[in-house]
């Protein structure tokens, strides 16, 4: 499903974020990406939804090398990848409901289904109550849940979640992870970047550990920290 070959990434300002990354993630896998702040987790995910292009190497998603994807094709790639952004990226002038519905609208989803699917997604993350609020009127955790709802709403075959529980309490975090696990079992490839040790340790999934732009560990049924 996803394959990274000899990837390296230098940002225009000279910061090197990734070096020599080789990685294969199969269909319907559930993978945690862990590593200290600045290790390159977000950068790696950005490559997958073509928010950044690698300096060298190829990024193959669903058999297509998206590093060389034409500009016009990018939106269609992105519709197949749900992303929970680390900084939420909610549209500030749209309510929570509109934000989630927007992800369906762009795909040309018929109006009748938009409402149903949106409400369903909001319910999954317990955000029905805040559906009419604007992002600026939400608590940190609520924003995060709105973002998760948007990423889920059109059942994408690939779901990337960058720190999806950074602003959530342990109980809600655990619920969200159970939800993600359920989604994964419904044929969705899942990548979760996280710092949440207890969740990684509790889920017992494949864990890829990064440090300073390199993969330092790739372990099935892994735990957060290698040395512990």
């Amino acid at each position: 499903m996803i394959e990274l070959r000899n990837i390296s990434k230098n940002y225009p300002n000279g910061v090197g974020a990734l070096y020599d990354i080789n990685l294969h993630i199969g269909k319907e896998e559930f993978v945690f990406i862990v590593g200290p702040s600045g290790a390159g987790k977000t950068t790696l995910m950005k490559l997958l939804y073509r928010d950044e292009v690698p300096t060298t190497g190829s990024v193959i998603v669903d058999k297509i090398n998206i590093a060389g994807l034409e500009q016009q094709q990018v939106p269609y790639l992105r519709r197949n990848i749900g992303v929970v952004f680390q900084d939420y990226k909610l549209l500030p002038r749209k309510t929570v409901y509109e934000n989630v519905a927007f992800a369906l609208q762009v795909t040309g989803c018929p109006r009748s289904q938009i409402r149903r699917k949106t409400m369903q997604a909001l319910e999954l993350v317990s955000m029905l109550r805040s559906a009419k609020q604007f992002p600026a009127q939400l608590s940190g955790g609520e924003k995060q849940r709105a973002c998760i709802a948007r990423a889920l709403v059109n059942n994408p075959p690939i779901l990337l979640a960058d720190e999806p529980t950074g602003n959530l309490d342990p109980a809600t975090s655990w619920e969200i992870l159970q939800l993600l696990d359920k989604i994964n079992k419904r044929n969705t490839t899942l990548l979760v970047a996280t710092h949440n040790k207890s969740i990684v340790d509790g889920m017992k999934k494949r864990v890829i550990a990064m440090e300073s732009g390199r993969i330092i560990r790739d372990q099935q049924l892994g735990v957060y920290s290698g040395n512990l």
Binding site: D51, L91, R93
Partner: protein, 286 residues
């Protein structure tokens, strides 16, 4: 459509200011269209008032004179024919020069001919009409103020061309202001557009609401501009007409509506263009 309206409403102050700037620009633009229209009208009036004097032979009978008049009326370009009997002309002449010297002392008989004064429709036709009038039987001489006419013609032409270039430049300036103002508004939403793209929206999907919003802003600006123009023009025109009745201010509803329609169409078009250009610019960036 609904999107654009909602977004317009939600961006509040920013939209209001944008509409304000566009209103002002379009008002200035419309104001100058009106000014140019009126200047053209005044110039036209001035040239129309330059008349050609046709001196006819002294000893024609009244019926001959009447026949003569109808011949002159049928000339191309002639708007109005006034007959000035030689006695009247002589009285005028004496009055005019009475102070300089006493004509009666030196002149025994009225030396002036009967004259037809022709009003010509347009400056361009003056020469031609004069030439043709000369060929009419019984005409002694035809006079028109040659060099004055020449100068006026150059001036009129210069002002017409100037006015045209000027309206063109102003259109361009208005265009730049309107398009760029909308662009500023859209630029401020750079983040929003980048988020839309991240969620998988195609360029055309993103563009839509922004263009509609641009049109909305343009139309609103145009509508306000027309309101301002209409009321202030009507007020000013009424005032000028009462204070300077000899100035031919344009009050023709049809001509005025044409200008108002032009202003609103320009507003709409520029709003659309502004929305389009600015989003495209942001879309191309990444």
């Amino acid at each position: 459509m609904v999107e654009a309206f909602t977004s317009f409403r939600r961006s509040g102050l920013m939209s209001m200011i944008t509409v304000g700037i566009i209103t002002i620009s379009l008002t200035i633009f419309g104001f100058f269209l009106l000014l140019v229209l009126n200047t053209g009208n005044i110039i036209g009036e001035i040239s129309a008032k330059m008349d050609v004097s046709v001196y006819i032979q002294k000893n024609l009978s009244d019926s001959e004179i009447a026949a003569f008049r109808s011949q002159l009326v049928s000339l191309p370009g002639v708007e109005k024919v006034t007959f000035v009997p030689k006695n009247e002309a002589w009285r005028d002449f004496k009055e005019k020069f009475a102070a300089r010297f006493s004509l009666d002392d030196v002149v025994e008989d009225n030396p002036l001919p009967n004259t037809f004064s022709l009003e010509i429709r347009s400056t361009d036709l003056v020469e031609k009409t004069a030439r043709m009038a000369k060929q009419v039987d019984g005409v002694d001489d035809v006079r028109y103020s040659g060099s004055y006419l020449e100068n006026t013609k150059i001036l009129v032409d210069a002002m017409r061309i100037g006015g045209f270039i000027f309206v063109l430049l102003l259109t361009f300036a208005t265009l730049l202001i309107v398009v760029n103002t909308i662009r500023l508004t859209v630029l401020a939403r750079e983040t929003e557009i980048s988020i839309m793209r991240l969620v998988g929206a195609t360029n055309s999907f993103i563009r839509g609401p922004f263009i509609i919003e641009g049109i909305l802003i343009g139309v609103l600006g145009g509508a306000f501009a027309i309101l301002i123009l209409k009321f202030s023009y009507d007020a000013i025109a009424a005032r000028i007409l009462s204070a300077l009745p000899f100035l031919p201010v344009v009050v023709d509803k049809k001509q005025l509506s044409t200008i108002y329609i032009m202003v609103s169409a320009l507003g709409m078009f520029l709003g659309m263009l502004g929305g389009y250009i600015s989003v495209s610019k942001l879309l191309k960036e990444k």
